[in-house]
């Protein structure tokens, strides 16, 4: 499976495959458990990345340059990766959309914005250092620049939702894309505008790239004012209905964009949400109970996602993106009803697999954890 393993294996003996020989020698722990003792990024069966650059863009964000190990297969502009960081002995995983362009094989750049209560974001903004090694996943997600580049492209980004769009924009600029590219960037004010200087530079260097900024808390400072509205479109991209559109940002922005791209335009729209949906609407928080069958822990339903409630109760639950993407937290629900907050689907059948991070209880529950 791994070319590295084959290359370092002893010379071929008749009838013995080097990979199998190596597995037998390194068993039962496996070769990586020895390689990582030399250097954590030397592992061949698992993606890991070393922090090679730390830049504090603004007071509440940090941009990390990562160098992935050889197990990482690269990404398409716009895709996300899961990054795992260990805080006080516990491994936490979050999704980030690298802003680095396609084709730069093992380098990737992620921007982490501080969330007031965010364990991982606070840790990375405050403590990320060069030489730190983070867990990494292969890139994933359907939100990416198509292989056949569209002629005309419109990008709409809000807050840190700019990062996957940055990957797309950088890729197109590096490829000397000839068609028109427009970007509408939403930010609170000029100080809290991610990639401000680089975007200004790209706009100056690439005549086919039009940059339009709208500040939501600094009236008059940008080209436009306030949150997304269909009225912003003609100024940013007069021909927006013909463009392949990529939007990323908070749910309100995406809802507004989706509302505009209706009546047949939907197929030109690609969206990526960056924030988990607001939890609990009709599930009546604080009612009913959740029992975790494997650990025999029973708790009162607090109304939070089942994943959060499991973690608060000390029930070890695997998790990844915490926004319904990666299915790491998928788990069997033995009985009871839950609502998927992403899709609105209600699961009432016993023995169904549910995503803990985006599911909220509608009744007493028994979860196989």
């Amino acid at each position: 499976m791994s070319p590295t393993a084959t290359a370092t294996a002893p010379s071929r003996l008749p009838g013995i495959r080097p990979q199998r020989l190596l597995d037998a020698i390194a068993g039962p722990h496996g070769l990586d458990r020895y390689l990582e003792q030399i250097s954590p990024t030397l592992v061949i069966g698992e993606c890991r990345a070393e922090v090679v650059g730390v830049e504090h863009g603004s007071e509440d964000s940090v941009t990390l340059s990562l160098r992935a190990n050889r197990a990482w297969k690269g990404l398409r502009a716009g895709q996300f990766v899961q990054v795992a960081v260990e805080i006080d002995g516990v491994r936490h995983t979050r999704c980030y959309s690298p802003a680095s362009p396609e084709g730069v094989s093992r380098e990737l750049e992620i921007t982490v914005k501080r969330h007031p209560d965010g364990l991982v974001s606070n840790f990375l903004v405050d403590h990320a250092r060069r030489g730190m090694v983070l867990g990494l996943s292969q890139a994933d997600g359907d939100f990416h620049l198509p292989e056949a580049r569209p002629g005309s492209i419109l990008l709409i980004g809000g807050g840190s939702g700019i990062t996957p769009l940055m990957a797309i924009l950088r890729t197109l600029c590096a490829e000397k894309h000839a068609g028109p590219i427009a970007l509408i960037q939403y930010a609170p004010d000029p100080e809290r505008t991610i990639y401000r200087e680089e975007l200004d530079r790209l706009a100056a260097e690439n005549p086919n790239f039009t940059l339009t900024r709208s500040y939501t808390r600094a009236p008059g400072a940008g080209d436009l004012d306030g949150h997304f509205s269909p009225a912003h479109l003609p100024q940013a991209d007069p021909d927006f209905t013909a463009a392949e559109t990529f939007a990323c940002g908070p749910p309100a922005l995406l809802d507004a964009v989706r509302g505009t791209w209706a009546n047949g335009l939907e197929q030109r729209l690609h969206v990526e949400s960056f924030v988990p949906p607001t939890l609990l609407s009709d599930g009546e928080p604080g009612t009913g109970s959740i029992r975790f069958a494997g650990t025999n822990v029973e708790i009162e339903n607090s109304g939070a996602s089942i994943l959060e409630q499991a973690e608060q109760a000390g029930v070890p639950a695997e998790s990844g993106c915490r926004m319904g993407i990666c299915h790491t937290c998928t788990c069997r629900k033995l009985s009871g009803s839950v609502k998927n907050l992403l899709t609105g689907e209600v699961s009432a059948t016993p023995d169904e697999e549910i995503q803990l991070c985006v599911s909220t209880p509608l009744s007493d529950l028994v979860i196989d954890l």
Partner: protein
């Protein structure tokens, strides 16, 4: 009956409840404090184990030189002991599951031992730790071949008790591997071989891998000098077998530990469960290195009270557990390895023979007062 137990005063239901709550509080305190310290500890032990293993195998490759053979065998023995005891046993208990590190996940871990990890988790984590020292349920009582309690009815077969024990010690990893096979129940026809097919396939697969590695591949890498790593690997496996047998048998069978009947333990409360774990286990005193090499099973009592707390915490909580035991006048069985193992050997030999006087041996069976609900089942 040993003197410690004789002086034992039964607790009232209120006492047993508050006793249970005090132990729960210790558990909560450690859970709230788990963190980087525990993660660093287990990673340091793993680093030492990997280092010893690589060094041991490397030295044994050149085992034709006597000093290399001796050093290599010693390093590999230590590596296997650490791998099985402080790392494998404890990780597979889920002691480090909270770290979310796939390499330390109790469900996924596999160890350098003939017993397949999934079968170990069933026979040990579930069967032994839930039904500790309940005769007829806890298969660790004698591993299906030995008589370790008066509650097991004597028959002439048990005349060989010391011999079986010696064989089990020498081949301990295979004894552990065959644990779930329930050989004696197969022999008696209680279970059918057909029901054990899958289990056997799993054991065979693991034993084959372990054998191939230690007795074929690594020796072969030394070419004409293959006998040296072969002998070194066999010795290391033997050392690990004898060591783990000794530690494990000292955990539940020195004089003063109790066995229980199924009736006694019906409808146990949390406090009563703790109480049974305490009376059924015994600790070993020693230095820090001794505790690490025993996988902290030298704190068998603390381990049985809290099997999923990180083992490096047992030493520090043992002070509190002991203090609680003193207050409730519950015997806390601890002694040096020599003394505890000596009493295990004595018991193995004594139980080879029929009981001299019913209920008068050193390890008297528990009196039957299971009907007296207001008293604790195991009080004597």
């Amino acid at each position: 009956m040993s003197t410690t137990i004789e002086s034992q005063i039964p607790l009232t239901p209120e006492q047993i409840e508050s006793f249970g709550k005090e132990l729960d509080a210790i558990r909560q305190r450690v859970l709230a404090d788990r963190g980087a310290r525990d993660a660093n500890y287990i990673r340091k032990v793993i680093r030492a184990q990997r280092g010893l293993e690589v060094a041991g195998r490397g030295l044994l490759w050149a085992g034709v030189f006597p000093p290399a053979w001796v050093a290599g065998t010693a390093a590999l023995s230590l590596s296997k002991i650490l791998d099985n005891m402080e790392i494998g046993h404890n990780v597979m208990h889920g002691q480090y599951d909270w770290m979310n590190d796939p390499a330390l996940s109790g469900k996924q871990f596999e160890w350098d031992n003939a017993c397949p990890a999934d079968q170990w988790r069933h026979s040990h984590n579930y069967m032994h730790h839930t039904h500790t020292n309940i005769v007829g349920k806890d298969r660790d009582i004698g591993y299906g071949v030995l008589r370790m309690s008066e509650d097991q009815k004597w028959k002439p077969y048990y005349l060989g008790n010391p011999v079986y024990a010696a064989l089990l010690a020498l081949l301990f990893q295979y004894g552990v591997a065959l644990h779930d096979l329930e050989a004696e129940r197969l022999a008696s026809g209680e279970v059918k071989l057909a029901d054990k097919r899958k289990l056997l396939a799993g054991i065979w697969k693991k034993v084959r891998r372990q054998t191939l590695k230690d007795y074929v591949i690594f020796p072969a890498l030394s070419g004409p000098f293959f006998l040296f790593p072969l002998a070194g690997n066999a010795t290391a496996n033997l050392v690990r077998n004898l060591w783990s047998f000794t530690i494990i048998f000292c955990g539940h069978f020195p004089e003063g530990t109790h066995e229980f009947t199924e009736e006694e333990t019906e409808n146990e409360s949390r406090g009563e469960w703790y109480y049974r774990q305490l009376l059924g286990s015994a600790n070993l005193s020693g230095g820090r290195l001794f505790h690490i090499l025993s996988g902290n099973l030298s704190f068998q009592i603390e381990h049985h009270l809290f099997p999923d707390l990180p083992a490096n915490r047992y030493a520090e909580i043992s002070t509190d557990v002991r203090e609680i035991c003193e207050r409730y006048e519950i015997p806390y069985n601890v002694g040096p390895l020599g003394k505890q193992f000596g009493s295990v050997v004595k018991k193995i030999c004594r139980l080879a023979l029929p009981d001299r006087k019913s209920r008068a041996g050193d390890q008297a069976p528990v009196p039957e007062h299971g009907s007296e609900k207001e008293r604790l089942p195991v009080a004597a």
